[in-house]
Amino acid sequence: MKVLYFAWLRERIGKAEEDIAFPPGTETAGEAMAHLASLGEEYAYAFENPAIIRIALDRKHVPHETPLRDAREMAFFPPMTGG
């Protein structure tokens, strides 16, 4: 799946996007985030406080427990500060 990172998540991980094949049994957006957090030090640092991370599936905000189903794009980002 195409995975995107924004703001300090992007900076901590060191890339803006990548393709990730999640392990079988990864059902929800939150489980996908837990897998990403296990990929290395920079990921662990980016996702050290998972409760504050916002997730979008196919460009829509979703709660962490949302099933991935056939989503094609997942994005992780901090709370928004536009406006």
Binding site: W8, H61, F77, P79, M80, G82
Partner: protein
């Protein structure tokens, strides 16, 4: 129900021109509210803001909040323009224009749109200090969530 005009752009915008665009050729609009959010210098400590956004989703979310305003208030027009990239103090960041027959709908919906877009539209501000020190990401405020919760 009119279609909202949504733009996400690096370039500056002209608030007066956007207001005229909504009212041009019409005689049914009695009230136009324009809100412009500007970059502050924070007493000289800020050199610039860097606004990052999620292309595609930013436009989608702005359109979603605009359609919600159109469903809740009798509006003849809604425009939202949000800039991205480097913005220096004194420059504009965001524009909301609402038009209605009477003032209350225009005032209230503009207020609603700003509260909602702050908590829903995927934009993030990084501050570049005038001192030349490494910049930091602006933290989201609990106040913003509380403000959106009013509606």
């Amino acid at each position: 129900m009119p279609d909202p005009l949504i733009r996400v752009q690096a370039e500056p915008f002209d608030a007066a021109a956007e207001s005229r665009r909504i009212t041009a050729g019409r005689t049914d609009i009695g009230a136009v509210v324009t809100f412009t959010g500007l970059c502050r210098s924070e007493e000289g400590s800020l050199a610039a803001l860097e606004l990052e956004h999620y292309p595609g989703m930013a436009e989608d979310e702005l359109a979603r909040v605009a359609r919600e305003a159109l469903a809740r208030w009798p509006l003849q027009g809604v425009t939202i323009i949000h800039r991205h990239g480097r913005i220096v103090p004194g420059e504009e960041i965001v524009l909301v224009v609402t038009a209605s027959a009477h003032r209350r709908a225009a005032f209230e919906s503009a207020d609603f749109l700003m509260d909602y877009l702050k908590t829903r539209a995927p934009f993030w501000k990084k501050e570049h200090p005038a001192s030349g020190a490494e910049g930091g990401w602006v933290a989201a405020k609990a106040d913003d969530d509380a403000a959106a919760g009013r509606w």
